[in-house]
């Protein structure tokens, strides 16, 4: 039973436009949410996180939004760049242990 779901396996956007990646979860006990980025032949690297006491966290071009009532979070990348092309994983945990990952969304940013 997947507790974290990324329903879009792929997303394609034009360079300079906004990329929006979505993630839904089912476990209301999750209190920490993270986004990871993965290039081929490399391990995932941490991108940005948000705790359940917040509804928004921003870091440069990356912003994560959390809607607890809808059990939904999203990652916005503005402006998108070709180097952002990668697989993005959403993850959630209870007190940062025992993390659960979504299936990933492959983002392609076209020049």
């Amino acid at each position: 039973d997947q507790q974290v779901k990324q329903n879009s396996p792929s997303l394609s956007v034009q360079e300079g436009r906004i990329s929006i990646l979505n993630c839904d979860y089912t476990n209301s006990m999750f209190d920490y949410f993270l986004w990871y980025k993965k290039y081929p032949a490399e391990g995932p690297t941490f991108l940005i996180s948000i705790s359940s006491i917040k509804d928004k966290n921003e870091d440069g071009r990356f912003t994560v939004f959390l809607n607890k009532s809808a059990k939904h979070l999203s990652l916005h990348i503005v402006p998108s760049q070709p180097g952002d092309s990668a697989v993005y994983f959403c993850a959630a945990s209870v007190r940062n242990n025992d993390m659960r990952f979504g299936a990933g969304t492959r983002l392609t940013v076209k020049p």
Binding site: G43, P44, F89, N96, D98, M99, R100
Partner: protein, 113 residues
């Protein structure tokens, strides 16, 4: 910078063999994790450990065991490899503190023939 090192990038083994995957981290992290990554399924947690000699089952522990004799090293063992264990295996570590992200190695692509 945190470094998580997995002993092999690629490994080919035969059905029935006992397979060891090794992972070492250099940041004195308390927590260590083993995942497998399969297309369409994302990362699934196999086992994790909060401390030396401690281990906890993740979502898919069947057919696997782990060993953590030293804080920096976490080994994944396939007791009797089967073809359905062909996958990408990822090791990660983290501090045992709220909000600390996991740091991943580059993965071991394991093929069981």
């Amino acid at each position: 910078d945190v470094k998580v090192t997995q002993s092999s990038r690629y490994l080919v083994k035969r059905t029935g063999e006992k397979v060891f995957l090794e992972c070492v981290q250099d940041m004195d992290h308390e927590n260590m994790f083993w995942y497998r990554q399969d297309p369409g399924l994302g990362l699934r947690l196999i086992y994790f450990s909060y401390d030396v000699k401690m281990k906890e089952k993740g979502d898919i522990p069947e057919g696997y065991s782990v060993s953590r004799e030293k804080k920096e090293r976490f080994s994944l063992i396939l007791e009797s490899a089967s073809t359905n264990q062909t996958s990408m295996y990822l090791c990660a570590s983290s501090r045992d503190r709220v909000g600390q992200p996991q740091h991943f190695g580059d993965g071991t692509r394991l093929s069981i023939l």
